[in-house]
């Protein structure tokens, strides 16, 4: 058990945005097997505690590498950037204006004759913008110099808004379905 490994090392994967999800799941199951409580039944309470901590570490690793958004944030963290700070605000005016427009469209969707059509068009637009941001994130992160990493950081900030919006679209759709 080595807690100093980063999640990519833990799962025996190259440090990259692209993660083979099938391989990730296989490695996870292998790690899980070695951690099964039955294998540690005879161990001391300290060893059992360690095994439990390690299991948590493995689960966090899986959650991080599984989600593209978390994975992107983690890659920035590994590159030494602070992605969690509360002072981490975005001031890109064009981006924020577009966010406002989408939110307004969602707000007005309730009163629209075909609210599902509004939701679908917002979902398509936001989805395309999200995909574009991931592409820009990957190429900026691969460049790796300070300026490019700052760009990748801004992509990650904007991606968080995109995911939040898409969650809201789904939530609205569920309410409309009821």
């Amino acid at each position: 058990m080595d807690f100093r490994q980063n999640y990519f090392e833990l799962f025996g994967l190259p440090v990259s945005f692209a993660v083979e999800q099938v391989v990730l799941q296989q490695r996870y199951q292998e790690l899980q097997k070695s951690l099964h409580p039955d294998r540690h039944a005879a161990a001391s309470s300290q060893q059992q505690r360690m095994a439990l901590q390690y299991a948590t570490y493995v689960n966090e690793g899986l959650a991080t590498l599984k989600s593209p958004l978390k994975r992107a944030g983690y890659l920035l963290q590994l590159a030494g950037l602070d992605v969690r700070s509360e002072a981490n605000t975005t001031k890109d005016v064009n981006f924020l204006m577009q966010q406002m427009e989408w939110r307004e469209a969602l707000q007005e969707a309730n009163a629209a004759t075909d609210p599902f059509a509004v939701l679908n068009s917002v979902r398509d637009e936001v989805g395309q913008a999200r995909d574009g941001l991931y592409q820009r994130f990957v190429s900026a992160w691969q460049q790796g110099d300070a300026d490019s990493l700052a760009q990748a950081h801004e992509c990650h900030r904007q991606l968080q808004f995109m995911h939040k919006l898409l969650d809201e679209v789904d939530a609205m759709e569920e309410r409309l379905d009821d």
Partner: protein
């Protein structure tokens, strides 16, 4: 988590919601967003010839604390000079609204929006 009465009051009866003409040379527009919660805030000020803020409007998509923070600062800013408004600190906002620690970032967002609106106005004047 329980909101304070002041937050609920601003949330249920937000002051100064709306929009000023961003193209107006006497209007400064500040836009900020908080990635962690997806909140988006637009704060606008209309400044008279004496450098006093005579009107302020906001539009915020976010939680109750973010809406209350921006609503509160629009009330505060009216009648202030730009320099006075620039002195508004997130800590005063958080204190007035009795924000819990996990919602302090909402007041930070409001402070950033004030600064962005003032910067936008000053950049227009400088042109």
């Amino acid at each position: 988590m329980a909101y304070s009465d002041k937050v609920i009051d601003h949330y249920e009866n937000p002051r100064n919601v709306g929009k000023l003409d961003a193209a107006d040379p006497t209007v400064g527009t500040g836009m900020v967003g908080a990635p962690a919660c997806g909140d988006v805030m637009r704060l606008q000020i209309k400044v008279n010839e004496q450098g006093v803020i005579e009107d302020a409007k906001f539009k915020t998509y976010g939680c109750g604390s973010a809406i209350a923070s921006s609503s509160l600062v629009t009330e505060w800013m009216k009648g202030m000079t730009l320099d006075q408004a620039a002195e508004i600190k997130n800590t005063s906002i958080a204190e007035e609204l009795a924000l819990p620690p996990v919602k302090i970032h909402c007041s930070v967002l409001a402070e950033d929006a004030i600064k962005a609106a003032i910067d936008d106005y000053r950049a227009k004047v400088a042109k």
